[in-house]
Amino acid sequence: MGRSVTMRTVAEKAGVSTKTVSNVINGTGSFSPETEHRVRAAVEELGYQINPFARGLRSQRTGTIALVLPNVYQPFNAELAEQVIRAPETQGLKVVVETTRGDAERERAVLSTSHKELVDGVIYVPEALTAEEYLPLPLTQPTVVLGERPAQAAGMHLDYVEIADEQGAHAAVSHLLAQGRRRIAALCEQAEPRAGGRRLHGYRRALDDAGVAYDDSLVIGVDNADLWSSGAGAVARLLRTRVRFDALFCYNDVVAIGALSVLARSGVSVPDDVALAGFDDIEAARFASPPLTTVDPQRESIARRAVSLLRSRMDTEDFRDLPGRCESAGFVLRVRKSSSATSNTLAQSPT
C-alpha cells in the first residue's frame, strides 16, 4: 500500500471528483449509495490508505485554529480572541475558542488529543499546567504558547509569544515612584504558572532601583484575578490592616477596577490619596472613573505574532521541521488620570 496512491488516483479510478472521494471517506456532504460503492471499491482495489492519525502528516486541513483560554469572562481573554480573529494573518482561517476552566485534565487533553479533526493548530494560554507538566506531553499538532518560555523548552518544536510581565510591571511601578509615591501596595495573584510572580518581580526591582525598601505588609494576595470581586475584596482587606499606602499596583485591570470601586466608596480619593495602576489595558480601563493607568501588553501584536508563528508551522509538511521560536510583543505604559493629573504615554518598542 504505497504512498503514491492519492485521493486523486482513487477519484480517477472511481470516475468521480476528489471532493466526492473526500466526502465518502469522511462521511461529509451527500452522495448516492452507488457512488459510495464505486469509491469504496476503488479505495480497496488501489489499497488507498487513510490514516488520519499519522503524526505530523498535514494532509487533511480543516482551515481552523483553536485558541485555548482558561475562560472568556476575563475581558483580556475576550479581547485577545477578538484580536486573533481580526489579525490579517488569520485571513482565510476560522477560529474556535476552547476554555479549560483551570482544569489540568482539560489542558492536557487539548494539548495532546485536541479535536484534531477540527483544527490545524493551537494557540495555548497555560493556566493549570506548569511548563514541567505540559512540556513532556506528546505534541500532536502545531502549537504556540502565550506566556514565558521556560529554559527547558529550548530545542522543542513549539513557539512562544511572551508578554512583558516583568518589564511592564517595572515601568508601571517606576511611574508611580516618579509621582513621588513611596508606600506602593501591590494586589497580586501569585499562583504558578500565571504571571503574578513575574509582575511582582518587576514591582520589587522598581522599588530597588529607586532605593525604596520592600515591605511585606504592602503585598496582598488575590485569589482569582479574573473576577471583579477579587480586587474589591483584596483592597478591603488592605484597608482593614490600617497599613498606610499612597499608591496601588494591581496584577491586572480587573483587580484594579474592583479595587477602585471600594476606594471610591471608602472616601479615598484617586489619585490624590492613592495613585492606581493596573495591567492589560482592557476597554473598561479607558472608561473607568477616573480612567485607569495601565500597562498595555500590545494585544494586537501578541495575536498577530501568535497566528503568524502558527501558520508557518502549519504550512510545513511535518510541523516538527521548524525549530522552536520565541517572540516578545513589548508593552506601552498608558498613563491616565488614576495616577497622574496629566496623562501621557510611555512606549517601549517590541524586542
Partner: protein, 346 residues
C-alpha cells in the same frame, strides 16, 4: 457517518480498544492495532477523540456560535452555557462568526459533522438558512430575531425589560428619558434594538409621556460597546436638549454613557440617571454601580441546553419549533437610586 461502535464491530474488538488505538495509547497489540486501523479506513471513520461518549456513542462536543466576544453580554453568556453544558456531560467549542451569514453557514457545513449539537446566536441567517442549519445538525437558536421556520429558540424579554426600566425611571420622577441604542434601519439582524425601542415606547405610553425623537439615539453599529455609548452620549450632550435620564439598550452602552456624562461634569444620578440592559458583572463595579435589567442568563443557558439535549437524543419531532422566553428582573443600583441603593445589589 460511521461511529466508533461501527469500527469496534467491524474490527471485532471492544470500544475501549478502538479508543486506545485512536488516542495512540500504548498496550495495544500490533495485530489489533492493524485490524482497527483497517476498519477505520474502510468505514471512513473520523474520530472525535475527546468528545465521543464511549457509553452512548453520542458526540459530546457542542458548538456555540457567537458573533464575537468583545461585548460582555456574549462572554458571560458563553460562561453560563459552558457551566450548564458540563452538567449535561457536553464539551463546548466557541465558534466566532462576526455575525456574517456566510461564516455562520460555513461553520455548520464544515464543523457540523463533528458536532453533536449547535447553539447559535444567529445574526446574518435568513429564515431559510436557519432551517437549513437546524436540519444539518441538532440546533437551538439563542436569538432575539424571531424565525417563523420550525426551529427551537430561546429569547430574552427585550421589550418587557426596557419597559420596566422606563417605568422605574418614571417612578423616580424622571420625565426627559433618552434612549441609547436605537436602530432605524429595520434590518432583521438588529431585532434586539427594535424590540427594546418598542419597550421604550411602551414605557413612555404607560406614563403618558411623549415620544421625543431627538432623545432617541441611534448608536452601536455593529457592536454595542462602551465607545459607541460614550460617542452617542456626547452627541446628546452637545445637542443641548434637556434630558434627565438615559435608558441604554445594553450595559456596555450605559457604561460608555456614564463615562461621557462624568467627563462632562454631570453628577449621576442627581443630574442624570443612567441604566442599562444585560446585568453583566462589570456593571456592578463601576462608580456609581449600574442599574440594569438581568435578562435571565442562567435560565437562558439552562433552557437552551435542555432543548438541545432533546434534539440530540431525537426525542422531539424534526419539524417542530419551540420558543422559550427567559424571565427578566430589574436590578436597581446607584446609577438611578444614588446612595440609597445597596452597592452591588443582588
Amino acid at each position: 457517518m460511521s461511529t466508533m461502535h461501527d469500527v469496534a464491530q467491524r474490527a471485532g474488538v471492544s470500544l475501549k480498544t478502538v479508543s486506545r488505538v485512536v488516542n495512540g495509547e500504548p498496550n495495544v497489540r500490533e495485530q489489533t492495532r492493524r485490524k482497527v486501523d483497517a476498519a477505520i479506513a474502510e468505514l471512513g471513520f473520523r474520530p472525535n477523540s475527546v468528545a465521543r461518549n464511549l457509553r452512548t456513542g453520542r458526540i459530546d462536543l457542542v458548538g456555540l456560535a457567537l458573533p464575537h466576544l468583545s461585548q460582555p453580554y456574549f462572554s458571560s453568556l458563553a460562561e453560563e452555557i459552558m457551566r450548564e453544558a458540563e452538567r449535561h456531560g457536553l464539551t463546548v467549542l466557541i465558534e466566532l462568526t462576526e455575525g456574517d451569514a456566510e461564516a455562520e453557514l460555513a461553520l455548520v457545513r464544515e464543523h457540523g459533522p463533528h458536532l453533536g449539537g449547535l447553539l447559535m446566536y444567529p445574526v446574518g441567517l435568513s429564515e431559510a438558512q436557519a432551517l437549513t442549519v437546524a436540519r444539518t445538525v441538532p440546533t437551538v437558536f439563542i436569538s432575539e430575531r424571531a424565525y417563523d421556520a420550525p426551529v427551537d429558540r430561546v429569547a430574552m424579554a427585550n421589550r418587557e425589560g426596557i419597559r420596566a426600566l422606563v417605568g422605574h425611571m418614571v417612578s423616580l420622577g424622571y420625565t426627559r428619558i433618552a434612549a441609547l441604542g436605537a436602530d432605524h434601519t429595520g434590518r432583521p439582524e438588529r431585532a434586539a434594538a427594535h424590540l427594546r425601542l418598542e419597550g421604550y415606547r411602551d414605557g413612555l405610553r404607560d406614563a403618558g409621556l411623549p415620544y421625543v425623537p431627538e432623545l432617541v439615539l441611534e448608536v452601536g453599529t455593529p457592536h454595542w460597546n462602551r465607545q459607541e455609548g460614550a460617542a452617542g452620549m456626547r452627541r446628546l450632550i452637545e445637542r443641548d436638549i434637556p434630558f434627565d435620564a438615559v435608558v441604554a439598550f445594553a450595559d456596555a452602552l450605559a457604561l460608555g454613557a456614564l463615562h461621557a456624562l462624568q467627563e462632562a461634569g454631570l453628577t449621576i444620578p442627581a443630574e442624570v440617571a443612567v441604566a442599562g440592559f444585560d446585568d453583566t458583572d462589570d456593571a456592578r463595579y463601576t462608580y456609581p454601580s449600574l442599574t440594569s435589567v438581568a435578562p435571565g442568563r442562567a435560565q437562558i443557558a439552562r433552557e437552551a441546553l435542555a432543548l438541545l439535549n432533546d434534539r440530540m437524543n431525537g426525542t422531539v419531532e424534526r419539524d417542530s419549533g419551540r420558543l422559550v422566553v427567559a424571565d427578566h428582573q430589574l436590578i436597581v443600583r446607584e446609577s438611578t437610586l444614588g446612595g440609597m441603593a445597596a452597592w452591588g445589589g443582588a
